[in-house]
Each structure stands twice: as structure tokens, then as C-alpha cells.
Symmetry: C2
Subunit: 411 residues, 2 copies
Amino acid sequence: MPAISPLAVPLPALPVVKGVRLGAVEAGIRYRNRTDLVMVDLPAGTTAAGVFTRNRCPGAPVDWCREALAGGKARAVVINAGNANVFTGKAGRTACKESAAAAAKLLGCTVKQVFLASTGVIGEVLPHDRLIAALPKLHASLSETGWEAAARGIMTTDTFPKGATRMVEIGGVPVTISGIAKGSGMIAPDMATMLCFVFTDAKLPADVLQAALSRGVAGSFNATTVDSDTSTSDTVLLFATGQARTPRLPEGGVARARMLRDFTAALHAVLHDLALQVVRDGEGAQKLVRIDVTGAVSARSAHRVAMAVANSPLVKTAIAGEDANWGRIVMAVGKAGEPAERDLLSIAVGGVWMAREGTVVAGYDEAPVVAHMKGREIEIAIDLGLGRGKATAWTCDLTHGYIDINGSYRS
Amino acid sequence: MPAISPLAVPLPALPVVKGVRLGAVEAGIRYRNRTDLVMVDLPAGTTAAGVFTRNRCPGAPVDWCREALAGGKARAVVINAGNANVFTGKAGRTACKESAAAAAKLLGCTVKQVFLASTGVIGEVLPHDRLIAALPKLHASLSETGWEAAARGIMTTDTFPKGATRMVEIGGVPVTISGIAKGSGMIAPDMATMLCFVFTDAKLPADVLQAALSRGVAGSFNATTVDSDTSTSDTVLLFATGQARTPRLPEGGVARARMLRDFTAALHAVLHDLALQVVRDGEGAQKLVRIDVTGAVSARSAHRVAMAVANSPLVKTAIAGEDANWGRIVMAVGKAGEPAERDLLSIAVGGVWMAREGTVVAGYDEAPVVAHMKGREIEIAIDLGLGRGKATAWTCDLTHGYIDINGSYRS
């Protein structure tokens, strides 16, 4: 069991979200003496939205969720840790179908109202008989306060449970948005993180939910990376139970956006909070790194430059060594393949501009930068000097811990 | 001083290439008690070709060589180790101009016939006065047999000197092709390696040389990666002294290609040999990894899939841990963004097909694969089952050694 990440944050108190009942149980799928199966019971009328991995070899549960999402309605989520049910062929599809059928029978709903997610080892057949055998007891134990149990039950190489919550109003009616997430390695940003589940008691149609989620993921999970390796299981699901009885949305786009402004901002804050918790638990991470890129030709270009820096092993090992090696930052900017002019480029670390206009700043004093590099949270700013495009990315350092975890553990 | 790579190969005896005189000297640019400045003297009439980094923040010597190459003629190459002269602004351009002028004066040629290359720390001004002060003694010491001295003088974090040679005929006249290279970290494949210099005594026009070099680099340096980080200094230069008095090339494209067939093959073999030596000296490398992709929709698509696997930290750490973790290979294939069908995909390690048609092979015996993983040279084969495109990439494993070297050493 690796030590808890030095970047860990405590799990916040996650309040009741009206209509959501959840919990965890030991199903013995792979781990021993810990919970590994989580169920969420959702009331009739719950709408759903989802964003999934862009990996071309997705796991069977990802295929399952994509199909289930077409209905736009949800009654349950079943999540197991320890086995990802990825690259398991026909056996994987059977495991999904039978697990969903078992949950649907308990809840009295259709199989396509059951969402599934799995995380853990790839390429081993999921022993879904154990999952199904554990479901009735799990179902009987669900409660409105089972948030921490659920957050812990979905962990794999995670060293701390991850959750976030916000309260806002829609049309004067208070609503809650709460989410849990897991993820530590195989985290790269072309879609989402490993697994993230967000719940609200707002009453919102599935298309509104999907639009809000897609926008929110772009600025949160898709702007983070631990190791550039996009998982086969990345899943972010958002459910709205409608139990808060928020008013019907106005038809007009502008009026609708105005009514949802606070909700959308709070949802994005929850997603952002959870995404950063995943990076804080990056395998072997000792430092959280924020990379702000400005002056790019477009926001898209800025994002690509920021991600090139965030994914550079040489930048990440330099940060692990507490070395403000801006030469490697220059290299990473240049390799991104985006418009960049060496002689217009400026780089700051910890707020100190150390390189400007193609060379080191005259009289550059390394002392404050050295002090910043010894901290837990590192800030890199890059100005390309070309336009108004900007973007931010988050990553962690690359340490011996990453090699230890991944050179010995079959995940 | 790190131990010599366990994947090192001995420097071959590099024979005289008619017209090429070279050597190395201690200029004290950064290192102490070792050679760090190399010069190559080339006869009048030498033609040149070059391929450079696609990094958008190239070093001053890369800019210099691109301009020099426009002339197509070369009389000298001057290379220093310890300082890359990258992101050094006006001072970097001055260093190039004055270094080339000093060499040109010694040789009685124009400054644009002097090619420059630098490798080492980024962002520090090159003390070119030391370089210039050391040039006369270096020039006086050049010899036809200075190959090993030159191969050693350009090393930075390299643990062994790198060279390759082939002898072939052009129109019945024997010619020699010999090259030296350096590189160990910041090695990624969008153009070349750090530095590689190849010499032949064939008499070939610059455009023919350039075409042969560009094709050769695509299948060698551009198909290798150590750490996905494309250097700011990558340079491959090819010089033909013409001293072997090979016959004039025929005008027709087909007749010309036929006369050059053996030469082109030998040149590609030299480039391939040198590129693999760089991977063998990858920072922290314990294993050399070959990835063959077949069945892709095109060769370009196959190359991208192969490089995605070669650059995956999770695949590379699994190999370091001697774990034939094909689940991570599936993940890396899927994240490449190229056409791939999970259920058509097959994966072999060490010649044993372990995964086929979306799941593990029935009755898969892990024993021979486990034995293969304990070796120094690892072979991964991936068949996408979609088309006839194929490609091969080479990389090394990702070990604690890489973190040690890059987390503590300012390179």
C-alpha cells in the first residue's frame, strides 16, 4: 500500500442530494478486505449525461454506457474496482449484460437504465458472478449518506478518496451538485479521467445536462494529465434526479442560459475540483504543477502548448528534482508543433519572469525561483507573444514513485 | 559518471573516408578533463545535406546550418559538447558567426562553408572565446584516423561512443560511408536525433544527397524515441567529399536510382545503425524495444500507432518491470487516435500471440513470454487487422535511471 499522496486533500462532507442513495460492499472481485463494489440508486425521472474516453480500444462498460445514454434516463449506477473489463471480448459484453440485468431486477427498471463502470486490471475476464452475488446485500444497504463509502469503494491505485460539492440555486430553488472520482495513473486528457460520477437534484433535461457536462469537462479533466496515457475506461457521468423541483426552463436560449448560469458555474467548479484531486493523486506525485499559457494564436493552440509542457518527461523530472530548468520548458513549447517564435517567448516560474525574448533575463535572480521549486504547488507561466489565445493545464511531477508503481504492479 | 549502458555496442573500426580529416580537443567549454570540441576538415567540392529538428525553438547552430545548407557546399564542421547554444538570443547568433569565421580563416573558405553544431545545457551563453582559442591546435591535430576521438568528443550524457560504417560500390567504384552520432535523452522522433554526422567519399550532387538522407532518416531516427521530448538541437548532416571519383550519375531517374541502389541501402543501414545506438544509450535504458505494427490502414497510420506504444510511459515502465502487460499495449494502440478495431487487434510479445480478436488467446501460456521479458531485447508485434500498412519503431524502457539522470542533472 503506497503512502498517501503528499498533495492529498481531505474528502469534504458530501451532503444529501435528493433522490440519490448509494453505498459500497466487499464483492471480492480482486481485492481482499476492502470494498470494491459500489451502487447508486436513482429515482424514476433521473436524466443522464456522459463523456467517455476517446481511446479506440474502450472497455465493455464504456460501450454499454454509450448505448444506455441514448435513452437519456437512469435508475442506477454499478461500479466495480479491481477489474476494468477491458479487452475481454464476448465475455466482457456478457458480464455487462448480466450485471445490468441483475441490478435492473432489484430496482424494477429496464437494463438500459443501469449504467456500468469498471476500473482495474485490463484483459482479465470480470468475474461478474461475484458482482451479481453481492448486489442484493449492497442494494439493501444503500443510503442517502453513503458518499464516502462510494468514494472509497471505487479506488484502485488512488491513495485518497475524491469528492466535491457545491450548492446553488436555479430559479430561486436551491440545488446540490456532488461528485466522486477515482484516478491516479493512465491519466491523460483526451476525454476525461478514469471514473467520475456527479449527481444533482436539479430537474434538467438530458440535452441541457449533456451540454453543461461537455463544456465543463473541456476545462477540467481534459486539461489535466498524469502520464499522457489515455485510459480505455475514462468515464464521466452526470445525473439529475429532479427531486429539487426546480422550475421548468424557459424556451429561449438566452433566458435559459441566464437561469442556469450559477448551476453551470457550480458544475464546472465540481468537475474542476475533482479533476485536480486526480492529479494530486497522480502516481508518484510529489508536486502539483499548473501551466498557464498566454499569447497563443488561439485557445486551442494554447491548450496544445500547455499539454505538451505538462506531458514532457524532461520538464516533469526537472520539477521532481526541484530544478527550474526553463531550457526544458522551451524545448517542450517548441515540440508542441504549434505556432511559436523563439525570440518572442517568455517564461516565468513562481511568478518570476526568467526568460524573455529568446534569452535569459539580464540579471536574473534565481533565489526566489529556487524557493518556489521547493514547494508543493508549482506555477509555470508561458507567454508566446503572438496573440490572445490562452489556456491552463495541470499535471504532477514524474518521480521514482511512478516507476515503482508501474514497473512492478500489473494494473 | 553513470555506468555504461547494458545495451552498449562496441565502436566499430571506422576506416578512412577519402578527404575527411577529423579530431577532438579539450576546450574547457563546460566539462573538465575530457575532449569537448570536434572539428572535421573537408576538401573543396564536398557537397552537403541536412535534416534538422522540427522543434519550433531551435538552437542558434540549427539556424546557422539551415542557412549554410542553402549553398550546398561544405569545408568544415565544428561541434562542441556541454553547451547547446539554445535560447541564447543575440549572443547565440554572435557565437555562431564568430566561431564559423575563426574556422573559415584557418581553412581559407567562406563562413557559410562551415557547419556548426552544439549540444549540452540549454539557455546558457556559449563561451565561444574558449572554442575559438582551441581551434588552431585542434586544426593542426586533425587526421584521417580521428574517428573515435570525434565520436567521443561529441558525447554528453552518452555512456558509449557511437559509430557505423559500410562499404559499397557506385558504378563499380568502391565508396565508404561512415558516421558518428551522439544522443541519450531529449530524444524523440519528429526529425532526427541530437547530433549525427555521416561522411562518404562518393561524388554526389547535393540534391541527390539530400533526397537519400531524408528518406533514410524517416526509417531510422524518425522511428526511434527515448522519451518523446524532441530536442531543440537535432541535426543530421551528410557530407560527400567526391574523392572516390565515382562516375557521373546518369540523367534518367530510373538509371540513376539503379546506380545508387547499393549506396542508398548502405546509407540507410548506417543511419539505422546509429539511430539504434542512440536508443541503446537512452537515459536509464536497460532494454531495447522493437515494435512492429502491421495491418494498419496505411504506413503513416502504422508509424503513429508504433510511436504511441513506444512513447507510452505505462508500456515502458511495464517493460522495465519485465511484465508482458499487453493491456497497456492495447491502451497505447487505442490512444494513438488512428483507425483501430478492438475486436480485430492481435498482440504478440517475443513472437507469442497472446491477445487476438479483442481478448486473451484461449490457453495462453505465459512461460515463454516471461522468459522473453527477462532478456535485453524485447519484441512487440501488433496486428491491427485492417489493411496492409506497416511500420517499425524502436524505444527503450523507462527506469529509475531516467529519473535519476533527469531529476538531478541540469542538461
